[in-house]
Amino acid sequence: MSPNTRIILICSGKGGVGKTTLTANLGIALAKQGVRTAVLDADFGLRNLDLLLGLENRIIYTAQEVLEESCRLEQALVKHKQEGNLALLPAGNPRMLDWLKPEDMQRIVSMLAEQFDYVLIDCPAGVEDGFKNAASATNEAIVITTPEISAVRDADRVIGLLNTNGIKPIQLVLNRVRPKMIASQEMLSVDDVTDILALPLLGLVLEDEQVIVSTNRGEPLTLRGSRSPAARCYGNIARRLQGEEIPLIDPSKEGKGLRDKFRRLMATKIF
């Protein structure tokens, strides 16, 4: 395994909090920076990464054929048209879940690590075998959650399991942040969540309708240099991963009216 390759598991515990969207956007953003990036769809039961990247019609072989040695890795990799530095290794048939072992996952990932600078693994929801297989093949992880109690609780479970497996570093991404709701204290704040989970914050992603629009098109927001709120957030996260120091977007600065100022005053911590 190339020692310089960063293998990063993107996981959450709870389903539907934004793992696949983050994987797709980070993959594109990293590729744009000129690093060779592979995204691996480890959600064999309900694969979606191909759709978010707009690559669903170009899949011929999958991770399954690579493992069965009925094709070479190069044949299964789907290269992104506009971003040649990005390749997808698609998930195989859901029946793979019946026989896939941690060693299989490790084999696939070490093959990818020979050719790429980054391997991003899109993890399935839950803490069962799918998660455990994927976690066995990684050395670092990004845990993504939303500011909702059920998502934070599940993230905590996952962090516990990652800790037990010696995965390091583990960084946090807080998704679907709504500055107005935080200001009126009807949503857990960024500090609340980082306090509770005790993880370094890699970044936050604002709630943004453009995420849906970009999903419809199969073009991640980071592909065309969009300046929409979530696009800026994903771009920042990619640059922080690369070691750049980028200040966090301050959700409380997103609203500038008098009413927003009042909300901020009312959110001042007294004790």
Binding site: E148, I149, V152, R153, D156, R157, I159, G160, N163, I182, S184, Q185, E186, M187, L188, S189, D192, I196, A198, L265, M266, A267, T268, K269, I270, F271
Partner: protein, 92 residues
């Protein structure tokens, strides 16, 4: 507690839902992380109280044994007000 929470208290309104969420999470995570259910904790509490009661007279009503969690470290915190020491049983 925030300025809004204090104001809400003054006018008799509920605290903000974010504050409630944080409190609920801290409690549930203390249990999740230690893998102790409220029933097990209750059982442990009464056994601890029994042991302690052999040495000192404690206020059974006031005694509190709870889980607190900070920075992913969970601690078992016992707060047992002592009424007086039972000297004779110290050597037992």
């Amino acid at each position: 507690m925030t300025l809004r929470d204090i104001l809400n208290k003054l006018i008799g309104r509920q605290q903000t839902s974010a504050t409630t969420a944080k409190e609920r999470l801290q409690l549930v995570l203390a249990h999740d992380r230690s893998d102790l259910s409220p029933e097990l904790l209750d059982q442990m509490r009464s056994e601890i109280l029994k042991v302690v009661a052999k040495y000192v007279e404690i206020d059974m009503e006031e005694g509190a044994v709870s889980l607190e969690t900070e920075d992913r470290m969970t601690a078992l915190v016992a707060n047992l007000p002592i009424k007086r020491t039972i000297k004779s049983s110290l050597k037992a």
